[in-house]
Amino acid sequence: MILQALYNYYRQKAADPESGIAPPGFEWKEIPFIIVIDMDGNFIALEDTRKGKTKRGETYLLPKSTGRSGSNSWMTSNLLWDHYGYVLGIPRGDDAKSNEMAKKQLLTFVQNVESLKEHLGKNDAVAAVALFYEKEEYKKVSSSDKWHECMKIIGCNMSFRIKDDAFLIPCSKSVRLYVESLDLNQSDEEGLGICLLTGLYGPIARIHGDTPINKDSKKIVSFQKNSGYDSYGKEQAYNAPISKIAEFAYTTALNGLLSRNSKNKVQIGDITIVFWAERQSELEQLFPSFFCFPKTDDSEVDARAVAALNDNACLSVTDGESERFCVLGLGPNAARISVRFWHESTDGEIAAAIRQHFEDIDIVRSTYDTGHYSVYWLLSAMATENKIDNIPSNMASQILRAIVTGEAYPLTMLHQTVLRIRAMRNVRRMQAGILKAYLNRSSRIHSFSEKEAISMSLDETNMRTGYLLGRLFAVLEKIQEQGVPGIHSTIRDHYYASASSTPSTVFPQLLKMKNYHLERIKVRGLRRKYENLLSEIMNRIQPDMPSGLVMEEQARFALGYYHQKSDFNKSLIIQ
């Protein structure tokens, strides 16, 4: 499923020479600092490759990093690049233990360089690196003027370059040929088996490569030893036999999708979504705009994407020529990455589901209201202080799943929104949209008899008690505003929460107050108009006002209130 799809994605990318995906044995890696040496191994300078405001280093196609973990991790180093513990023997911390560790790491690194030199011969640039260590030139690096900059990055990766050469030594042709000659199928560890991705017999990867989604969560496949994940005497990744080649392919594919400049990634709250189409698809370009936080220079991007989705004929569901489209939601859990959702479908079906979602949340809005629709705003409307980090965990992934698959929204979405509305004592457009979407969709999917359809704007035929009470509340507030113009706090500020949850305790009082407010309205026609409206609504409410409203009715209350209120400002709304 997931790994299989990633494996296929890698193969499809590898077949396309323009995709720029790393070939077997290599990896794109950011190198912020480069040690410049001459052919005699003398230290020339320390070079800073970081540019721009974000201070990110250049990325290079380097020999793939090798997985290392545990107490013997110092025994493995990368080829001609690594962090300063390996390259210079400078420890990360001050204590004796990390000092000891750095010494061992340096030894491993130098041994690696030596053996590579023997393989490539004396005239190569690699020989210069070996000389660099022989002459103990590496000790000079820490006295370089740029060194304190480098130390600021913990575990900063570094590599080598010959003076006047444009490329790094690990990128040189001879090193590249050497890496290519190493067969991924060669295995010095025992562990052969059937790969569960390819079905072929071969060496199995003991630990899998990192595919970090944040600084703490690194691996999607990992098994701790002696922690209940060993089965049938098999430890670590031997539990799940994946061949080294398949492991390389899926990690490279996922790292490509997750990379900083990837166009196939969206981050919402703690969830990282990656998506890809089997072949080119228009949806792939539009997809991030539906979810993202709008960029400052282009705030209309989500609204435009929604429009494009509706106009694009290619994305309507057609038989035959549709492309497979995969959406993968990843979330952090301790040091591991957990799969929050996974959906594989055709681009047409996914486009239809997303279109349906935007249709569901669409509701009347005022002309002042920016037409933002992206899921970022939707989640922010449910969060305390509108901060997306404040939404309950797992809810974001459930909502995203509902959007992509067209399934029912989670019930927590309704609860959270109603609670937010009660706390804020106001209904905003996005919140009203969420409630409408939830109620409409759940009745479409779950209810058997009466299908409820809440309309975009005021529905005078809606007979639900919650909806009517919401309308009533809006009318009472309007009367107060008209009667006492310029009032600072209205009945909404004082009574919204209790009116929407326990109407029978509040409404009698409110109706009594209404009489005073009505008297103060000087224009007779206006007074008559409100009185008519009130009686029209009151007549439909059952004689016994309910003492409590359940969550769904409270949602209808909010919708009735929002609809009625926007109906008062008819001149200001966009239908």
Partner: protein
């Protein structure tokens, strides 16, 4: 003795299921449908003896594949090989040592129709397990008579009786013990509902573990293909099963 393998059919359904993928066994992610090994366990929970072996033939998927993501508290320790555990053990900071919160991607609202052959193993082919039966009596006539009455038909009838009544040794479950399922013995297929109308390649799927070498059992995989909701499970001995 001439005999044939009889095919039995069970319908199982449950609210949740998790046929954990081996590579996602920590933060669990389920396979899309029931695996042959999980299906075998369902049959075995109703009837099993050293004299028989279950072979899954076919799986009908009766409900569309639906997912749910749940966080659960699991244990990061195994019971075996360390003389038992106390699950509420605390470490020196007072935290619970073995409990871990992990995310799982489960299947929701599943139903399958499982077809399996009940294979009779002649007494001579049976491997002696650690739970072999009481030692045969020394008397010659008894030795001769022992197991003479064995006949596959007897086991077929036993299963049929048990399944029809809803008897089981342990409650059958769908992948994980916590997702117990209901089962029903299917006798007349003509009255049963059609499987879902979906055709899909499900990729490589765990078939079962190969216990030929008990010291190091290795997993076997096969390429699962769903054709109009029907998954044909290849023969254990066939080429399609990668062991």
């Amino acid at each position: 003795m001439e005999y044939f393998n009889k095919t039995f059919c069970l319908e199982v359904k449950g609210d949740f299921a998790c046929f954990t993928r081996p590579e996602m066994k920590v933060e669990r992610v389920s396979y899309d449908v029931i695996t042959p090994s999980a299906a075998r366990a369902v049959f075995e929970s109703i009837f099993w003896k050293p004299a028989v072996r279950w072979r899954i033939r076919k799986i009908d998927v009766l409900r569309p594949v639906k997912w749910i993501s749940v966080r659960r508290n699991e244990l990061g320790v195994v019971m075996s090989n360390n003389g038992g555990i106390y699950i509420d053990d605390t470490d020196n900071q007072g935290g619970l040592k073995h409990r871990q919160q992990r995310a799982s991607l489960l299947l929701r609202d599943v139903a399958y129709r499982l077809y399996a052959d009940l294979e009779f193993i002649p007494p001579s082919d049976r491997t002696k397990g650690c739970n072999s039966l009481a030692a045969p009596s020394e008397e010659a006539w008894e030795k001769e008579m022992l197991r003479k009455d064995e006949n596959p038909g007897k086991y077929y009838a036993m299963f049929e009786r048990r399944a029809r009544k809803g008897q089981c040794f342990n409650q059958p479950y769908l992948g994980c013990r916590e997702f117990s399922c209901e089962f029903r013995y299917v006798e007349d297929l003509s009255k049963e509902p059609e499987p879902i109308d979906e055709t899909r390649d499900l990729g490589f799927m765990l078939y079962d573990l190969d216990f030929k070498n008990p010291q190091n059992p290795s997993p076997a995989f096969f390429r699962a293909q769903m054709n109009s909701g029907i998954i044909d499970v290849p023969d254990w001995e066939s080429e399609e099963v990668k062991k």
